[in-house]
């Protein structure tokens, strides 16, 4: 079974600024292939966050929003309440007394993303979390730090984007 990539809203929104504009289409094409094969996963809360934060008037965010809306219908990544509770329980037992996202307005996706990770751990699925987020700040736990503390693997966004481009060129 191939490794599954788990990605959050911050990583998706950061991709555009980390790679050259000429490579954007290849990256999206590669991510598309990963979604098709079930090797790229993110919960619906990530889609919502990307739609909320992205700027549809800018080409790269527009491309991301169109892409994510197109793939979400084919992706079954709903995170059960039980796994969200497990994520918040882990948070409270590991120094995040108010949970992973105490400042969130409305839905926040980090609880869903960590819930998905715990679900994959439970199912013994090999996965890697795509993130550059290691800076602890008030209001939202850093996904990279959580991943490391959970003993899971992390891949930085640029390496993930390179992998997507390679996937795209090999398919061509």
């Amino acid at each position: 079974m191939p490794t599954v990539f788990v990605i959050d809203d911050r990583s998706l929104l950061a991709i555009g600024s980390l790679i050259d504009v000429t490579n954007h289409i290849d990256v999206f094409s590669g991510m598309n292939q990963l979604c098709e094969s079930g090797e790229l996963m993110f919960p619906p809360e990530v889609v919502k966050a990307v739609r909320q934060r992205g700027d549809a008037s800018q080409p790269i965010d527009r491309q991301l929003i169109i892409w994510i809306e197109a793939v979400q219908g084919r992706m079954d990544c709903d995170v059960a309440f039980g796994h969200k509770r497990a994520a918040q329980l882990w948070a409270q037992n590991n120094g995040y007394e108010e949970g992973l996202d105490p400042f969130a307005a409305g839905d926040s996706c980090i609880v869903a993303v960590v819930g998905l990770m715990l679900d994959l751990v439970e199912r013994h699925t090999d996965f890697v979390v795509v993130t550059d987020d290691f800076t602890e700040r008030p209001g939202r736990a850093a996904l990279g730090s959580i991943t490391e503390r959970l003993g899971c693997r992390v891949q930085n966004i640029r390496t993930f984007a390179d992998e997507c481009m390679r996937l795209c060129s090999s398919a061509a």
Partner: protein, 365 residues
């Protein structure tokens, strides 16, 4: 539920489910559906992820303090769920500001120190000097410009100012003292002319270094002292007496039309003018009661000056330029990422571009 003073019965009514269903959620014998959870989160003004916590987090000290105040004998002091959410939102902004200050070595704000034994007139004078506030400037402004101009003066001193439309119309505002990130919040449900008084009232609390949740009724010694400081600040003794003697040409103000002339001259509310006249012994008996009973009960909102009320503008109005500028500077220096700023202000990238423009513009919010 307890913090928001919501009973299981109220929640059941709001969600249109039997009370036993709500109790089964509390006892963890059943779980709400996704739709019910969303409604529950909105009703209790909490993010939905809050309800997945294994245990309720400890109340933050400020919220707990406000809650204790509510335990007293007046039920209008009980902050409702949305008002507690506003307090939490202010606390969050203060926490972020404090964190940024720590990362950027921003120094503490030196407010003029005060104690309740100081005369309100002295404290008001010190505050006017500290803020660079001129009564002559106040008189020249349009009445709906006084509060925003005063807000700008307060913000120039590095104090965070927030505007919330609180559900409780009796709540005038609150403050959260802190050495580097003190915060004043006022209720925009209040009349536009009364807001300047609220800013100074909360500033007086900050000078004392105590948290407060202030209502329209000054029901404690500290509240009355802060109210007097605010009155002295906006209607200084000498200017007030000169106006009454020279313009109104009376020794005691009895006529409500005179109160209105005084209020219009200093750009304050009629009630504030009547209270201040009482404080300096220039009001006829029961003048305040007459003014209070005849003053508008419907508050006048601030003018929009034809400016579109976008989400970005509302965010800057809510959190103030000091906080927004601190976030943007932190982003510029790499302390925060643009994604952090988007989340703290709850805006999109497009709206953030507008936030930047509004924050750098010196025009009234």
């Amino acid at each position: 539920m307890a913090e928001a003073s919501v009973a299981a019965r109220d929640l059941a009514t709001h969600l249109n489910v039997p009370e036993t269903t709500v109790r089964s959620w509390i006892d963890e014998r059943a779980m709400p559906t996704k739709g019910q959870l969303d409604k529950l989160a909105r009703f209790l003004a909490r993010p939905s992820s809050f309800f997945f916590l294994a245990r309720p987090p400890a109340s933050r000290s400020s919220t707990a303090l406000f809650r204790r105040a509510t335990g007293s004998n007046k039920d209008w002091q009980v902050p409702s769920g949305p008002d507690l959410a506003a307090i939490r939102s202010a606390q969050n902004a203060q926490e972020v500001s404090r964190w940024v200050a720590d990362k950027t070595s921003r120094s503490a704000i030196e407010l003029p120190p005060a104690t309740p034994t100081d005369t309100p007139d002295d404290v008001a004078r010190k505050l006017r000097a500290w803020l660079g506030w001129q009564t002559a400037e106040q008189i020249e402004l349009r009445d709906d410009q006084v509060a925003p101009t005063l807000r700008a003066h307060i913000e120039e001193r590095g104090i965070l100012t927030a505007n919330f439309t609180l559900a409780d119309e009796h709540c005038r505002g609150f403050c959260l003292p802190d050495p580097v990130s003190p915060l004043i919040a006022i209720n925009t449900r209040d009349d536009v002319r009364a807001r300047a008084l609220s800013y100074v009232h909360e500033l007086a609390h900050l000078c004392l270094g105590v948290e407060s949740l202030c209502t329209a009724e000054a029901d404690s010694g500290t509240e009355r002292w802060c109210e007097r400081v605010a009155g002295c600040f906006l209607l200084p003794d000498a200017e007030l007496r000169t106006f009454v003697a020279d313009v109104l040409a009376v020794t005691t103000v009895r006529d409500i039309e005179d109160v209105k002339r005084l209020a219009n001259h200093f750009n304050v509310s009629n009630r504030a003018a009547a209270v201040r006249l009482g404080q300096v012994g220039l009001a006829a008996s029961r003048l305040y009661h007459t003014v209070n009973s005849q003053s508008a009960t419907k508050s006048r909102a601030s003018g929009r000056n034809g400016v579109a009320q976008t989400r970005a503008r509302r965010r800057v109005q809510r959190y103030g330029r000091t906080y927004v500028t601190q976030l943007l500077s932190a982003e510029e220096s790499g302390v925060l990422s643009d994604l952090d700023v988007l989340e703290y202000l709850n805006v999109s990238r497009r709206e953030l571009a507008e936030v930047r423009a509004i924050a750098s513009d010196k025009a009234d919010l």
